[in-house]
Symmetry: C2
Amino acid sequence: MNSIIVTGCCGFIGSTMVDRLLLLGYRVIGVDNVSTGQIGFLDSAIKNSNFQFIQLDLLNLEQLKEAFCGGEFVIHFAANADVRFGTQHPGRDLEQNTNATFHVLEAMRANNIKRIAFSSTGSVYGEASVIPTPEDAGFPVQTSLYGASKAACEGLITAYCEGFGIQSWIFRFVSILGERYTHGHVFDFYQKLKADPTQLEVLGNGRQRKSYLYVQDCIDAIFLAIEKARDRVNIFNLGVNDFCEVNDSIGWICDFLNVTPRLSYTGGERGWVGDSPFIYLDTQRIQSLGWTPKLTIKEGVLRTVQYLRDNEWVFNVRT
Amino acid sequence: MNSIIVTGCCGFIGSTMVDRLLLLGYRVIGVDNVSTGQIGFLDSAIKNSNFQFIQLDLLNLEQLKEAFCGGEFVIHFAANADVRFGTQHPGRDLEQNTNATFHVLEAMRANNIKRIAFSSTGSVYGEASVIPTPEDAGFPVQTSLYGASKAACEGLITAYCEGFGIQSWIFRFVSILGERYTHGHVFDFYQKLKADPTQLEVLGNGRQRKSYLYVQDCIDAIFLAIEKARDRVNIFNLGVNDFCEVNDSIGWICDFLNVTPRLSYTGGERGWVGDSPFIYLDTQRIQSLGWTPKLTIKEGVLRTVQYLRDNEWVFNVRT
């Protein structure tokens, strides 16, 4: 049996995917440069003889071609995850997302691997005029370097589908929550409140609406789509039919931690430049295949803070 | 007075833009690596004291930052022009279009230049479901590495507009024809028929429909849009309200050359993998500003073959 390759296997979603694949009996090659991921997320996987971990950077094309040897399917999750600092290092998204994805495609081509699943983002819609936003929304105008880089990845992947007979499953995520979640506002709030439970500074006005999906629901949807969708290019929004305000999640987190901080807001509709004030996706397409998320947004947030409480080591090892 | 910077100044459209700018009295800095452009296209420009030519590759960011010093507006036309060979060197479009555009944006940022006009392409629509295709057509699925790379450029530019307060004019061209046209099917047919007027091999079935715009009409539209469209991001299709089949243009070229070759067809709806069988753009948006093309497609084709007949040196110097 050939292997499933997972890039970004030390990441939040990547490591969860690895564990699921191993549970289902697949052989898995995990690739990660361990720059923002956690080797600790592979504690279980590395005990499994079906798992092989290769530490390398996707920007090293020759090593990547070697690593992909024996693979039959690529699940490409590696990405720059520091979304909101795009303007501080404007080349990073291009390099680590777009150019890295090009290398993944070239390594596939070198090894005659014909199928890829890719973690895109609802940010590719820019500031969508239609909400909930369907997959065939209007031609997007990118507003963040992160969204632009992921849209560019999609373009490369679909052009490879056309040019080289590859088949792709592209998933546009809302924010994902759950065990091993280690960036984004729930993580930041938890960390800030642990340090000082008497006050919390909130980027923006707290009214930013967010739609969150629980990581295991996300993985379920990916498996279902790969099983049932058989076009050359298969694009799916993944999210829940609901949203919350940042203030809602602050309330849930504070209740969970039993703290009552004084809230201060930096103001404005956006947490940061390029932050989309509202990503809320139309998920009819994936739901029509028989998928529904099992957890609500609130349940996803609570699973996340439970995980953070039980795994505070993730705060210490992060760079 | 500060200068207008034109990247790709040795190219077909870039050199035409340089001449127009100089005619209008602007100071111009032209940048080109002279890899596919022709230094001969600048014969007139280099006699003008308002013109400065800097030979460099956009991939050299440090040199580019120096070259952009004193610029107030960037017209970014440099690109990989060998569209149809994308699958033979799949990294070239990414490198020479997407990554090069990132460098242009970084060089602008380093020099506090806040305005950019960009030559995109109707290929960014992939295989559009709506024809004529408007600027706000559905979310595109890229089918060529060229289209994907240009769409990625657009994404970078608009993300910079959002993140760094830049203003942009993005032009999605149909194929452009006219004086200095030195690639594409009219060029190829002319060259083949000069070599052997008795036969002509046509890629595809000859029924591919093409919409062509005359280069001076294209330049007119760009000036008008920059003058009148004042949003942060201004996107315009540029084309004519008409199309021809490849067979039509073959007829016009043969009539002009007074030859009657035996035609053979490689077959299929597409000239090459990733070739969009029909790019026909809705140009209401630019026409609403008061622009209409002056030349028909046939007139554009004839101007082109006249130019080629009078300038056969362009065949000799091409690599």
